[in-house]
Amino acid sequence: MKKLILALLLLAGPAFAVGLPSDMLPDPAQEQRARSIGRELRCMVCQNESIEESQASLARDLRLIVRERVAAGDSDQAVIRYIHDRYGDFVLLRPPFNLATLALWGMPVLALGAGLMGILLLRRRAATAEPAPLSPEEQARLAALEKDPTA
């Protein structure tokens, strides 16, 4: 337990540091692009952080690779493909669309569809269901009203 906590602290420790200005691209527009690309990529040794947020050395390496590719004139997709080819699906924070993620990406449509179906079915059942018959008192009141609407 103690070791685990220590390990977690060591993992967490560097994450709260600040990056180095010298790693940034001189062109602000390119730097902006590199950042938005970086936010799509996971720091693979961290817990749920993008490479832009993390200060692990692996994240810094990836940041530098991204900036290198951006400076070399690659498009955003090309940079992401470059990293994806080398590090696999795990590096993508936006999971690729394939058989294993079909239901994940389809979830908004699946959930809405299932909900709508359920609502329609229930409405149909409610529409066909007989309304509850009137109680004797209600029938008496109805009869009285039919005779004299002001009653």
Partner: protein, 660 residues
């Protein structure tokens, strides 16, 4: 001695919880009034025992009793008192004790303030709450004893993770648990209703205040956690779609849906079965959240304390309570006949749409949170699901939700026409369109923030239009009847004010989110005397010096922020070093204003230059201000006369909400 007393109190609490489960449920089944009457006193006894156990834990932390393992692992004599005490629930064992204490508080509140509840319903609610307590007390005593001793005593504690030594985080778990555990009460009401085989308008009226109180606390708890992440983690981010955050968002989404469908039960006796299901689901998500956080089954930035062995126990509890409740639902649910017909376009219809969208959003969040685990187990694929996925997948559900949110409260019950509603909303639509276009004109082609500003204005003005319509402010086009409107405003039910405020609160939060979409930042290495320009401000580094705190030493920078030559503020970002635990943290310096935050983080120093990351976070405080407004709306709604008269149980919850 104190620790043993605490341990004994917890064991006593388990025994009392067992009695609280068996006696009233048995009594309700046998229609034995004497057995049912035991429910209240047993609930109070259980509450006392839990409080004694928690108090013993607080004492052990306050006096830094280093013969208690939990204190040794999580505390230190040099810590300020607040964090010594907060350390009592800042760890796994202690947080579970807090969990059951809050559950016992809820039981006590039902027993003490629910005098008008029918006897059998009250007995069953308390019995079910007792059953929930039994599981968690057993979990604590079997796997997470907070009072374990160590001999010989350690010379001193090992300290609490410095990141957790923060006032925001000291109060984050209690608020969050008040929300999580509050849904245990609505769960108990739902299970009791299934046992009784009856759900009616009165049931809706009893459940709604509990849903409201739990929802308000959960809203505050989530907001506090998000605010903590914003200022403490030093990334300037406020929501990371982290599994632990999602775990608190899921019960919030289900609870929001429950809140709205309970209105339909109360007013129209429709959606009864669905509301029962939502009450089960909201607590199911709370348990799932507890499981995800406490078992460490997911990789997460928040998983400071985790232990897989305990995960199996909590998973068993989760399966028992939720599986059992759903089995009961499948058995008894269909017997509850639907009543209360309504046209698709009506207030009820609007609330159904709200439920459909909120539940779909919950399904997306749930899928995104658990998918990496499933993909690994089922397909052997390691994938990540991060913010880009959630933002993309949630947006198509949020847009119709926000559009419908402003119109829903204006729809009449049973059947409505769209045109009169749109007529009353035209100026809200105009304001939203203006905000959207203004943002596009002045901030460049940034679709996200522009949509956010439009949505925010739509919700705030929509809530205003709702109130204006109810008090007939613009009924006479020529002149305003302010006096008449004022007297109508005073007569308006508090629930209407609360709803409008909560809806506007979400608008205010969206305002902040949209503003953050336009935030700018700058990373640079400065020498004392040098400055950079960001967001129209000049940020000058004056000096970097040493500083000493109660249990840390630090390097502290002085950054003067000025605008047009006039000093706006002086910021002191720090890098703190905690000798106990040998960790370094960054303390962001933040100047909060209505127009946004000036936010400075200090990095490493090299060759006389200091790395500074500066942020100009436009409208950031509105994110949390909106959440406070939402919770306040819930509290105002709780003071509604209808609820007060029908269910006195809410008085306590309201007082607590007001305090929070």
């Amino acid at each position: 001695m104190i620790a043993e007393l605490g341990h004994f109190a917890l064991a006593l609490a388990l025994a009392l919880a067992l009695a609280q489960t068996v006696v009233p449920l048995w009594g309700a089944a046998r229609h034995d009034a004497r057995l049912m009457a035991a429910a209240g006193p047993l609930a109070f006894g259980h509450l006392l025992a839990c409080a004694a156990g928690f108090a013993a834990l607080l004492v052990a932390f306050a006096v830094n009793d280093t013969s208690v393992v939990n204190v040794v692992q999580n505390s230190h004599s040099a810590k300020p008192m607040l964090y010594k005490l907060a350390g009592a629930w800042g760890n796994h064992e202690g947080s579970m004790v807090l969990w059951v204490l809050i559950l016992a508080l809820c039981g006590g509140a039902v027993a003490g303030f629910g005098r008008d509840l029918p006897t059998t319903l009250k007995a069953r609610v308390l019995g079910v709450l007792g059953l929930v307590a039994v599981g968690f007390m057993a979990f604590i005593l079997a796997t997470s004893n907070p009072f374990g001793r160590v001999w010989p005593p350690a010379p001193d504690g090992q300290g609490l993770n410095p990141v957790l030594q923060d006032p925001g985080l000291a109060f984050h778990p209690p608020l969050l648990y008040l929300g999580y555990v509050g849904f245990a009460v609505t769960f108990a009401f739902a299970v009791a209703a299934l046992l009784e085989g009856r759900v009616d308008a009165a049931w809706g009226r009893w459940v709604r205040p509990w849903a409201l109180a739990a929802w308000s606390f959960l809203t505050l708890g989530i907001a506090l956690g998000s605010w903590w992440a914003y200022y403490e983690l030093g990334w300037g981010g406020y929501w990371f779609w982290d599994p632990v955050e999602n775990a608190s968002l899921l019960p919030w989404l289900a609870g929001t849906a429950l809140l709205h469908s309970a209105v339909v039960v109360e007013k129209r006796e429709a959606l009864k079965v669905w509301t029962v299901l939502l009450a089960l689901l909201a607590f199911g998500f709370s348990l799932l959240g507890t499981f995800l956080v406490r078992s460490g089954v997911l990789n997460s930035v928040h998983a400071f304390a985790n232990d897989p062995e305990r995960g199996v126990f909590i998973l068993a509890l989760l399966l028992f309570y939720i599986g059992g409740a759903f089995a009961l639902f499948a058995w008894r649910g269909p017997a509850m006949a639907p009543t209360g017909m309504f046209a698709p376009l009506s207030r009820e219809g609007g609330l159904v749409l709200n439920n459909l969208l909120l539940c779909s959003a919950a399904a997306v969040v749930l899928a995104g949170t658990l998918w990496p685990m499933f993909a690994d187990l089922l397909f052997g694929q390691k994938i990540s699901v991060g913010p880009p996925f959630f933002n993309t997948a949630i947006l198509p559900l949020t847009v119709p939700l926000v559009l419908a949110m402003a119109a829903g409260p204006l729809l009449p019950w049973k059947r409505a026409k769209l045109w009169p509603v749109l007529q009353r909303l035209w100026w809200a639509a105009l304001g939203a369109a203006a905000a959207l276009l203004l943002c596009l004109a002045f901030a460049g082609w940034r679709v996200g923030p522009a949509l956010g500003f439009g949505a925010a204005l739509w919700l705030i003005l929509g809530a205003a239009a709702d109130i204006a319509d109810r008090i007939a402010l613009f009924r006479h086009p020529r002149f305003l009847h302010l006096g008449a409107a004022w007297s109508r405003a005073k007569g308006l039910p508090r629930a209407a004010w609360g709803a409008a405020m909560a809806h506007a609160g979400l608008g205010v939060t969206l305002l902040g989110v949209a503003g953050m979409g336009l935030a700018t930042d700058n990373l640079s290495a400065l020498r004392p005397g040098q400055s950079v320009t960001l967001g129209g401000y000049e940020w000058r580094l004056d000096k970097v010096e040493d500083a000493i705190g109660p249990n840390w030493s630090a390097r502290r920078a002085t950054v003067t922020v000025s605008r047009n030559g006039a000093t706006v503020t002086v910021l002191h970002p720090e890098r703190r070093f905690f000798p106990v635990g040998r960790t370094t943290t960054t303390e962001a310096a933040i100047e909060t204003g209505l127009s946004g935050d000036l936010y400075a983080v200090m990095g490493e120093e090299q060759d006389g230059a200091t790395v500074l990351r500066l942020h100009h976070n436009l409208l950031a405080p509105w994110i949390w201000l909106g959440a406070v407004l939402m919770a306040l709306g819930g509290a105002i709604s709780l003071t509604d006369r209808r609820i007060r008269v029908a269910a006195p149980a809410t008085k306590r919850a309201t007082a607590m909400a007001a305090k929070a």
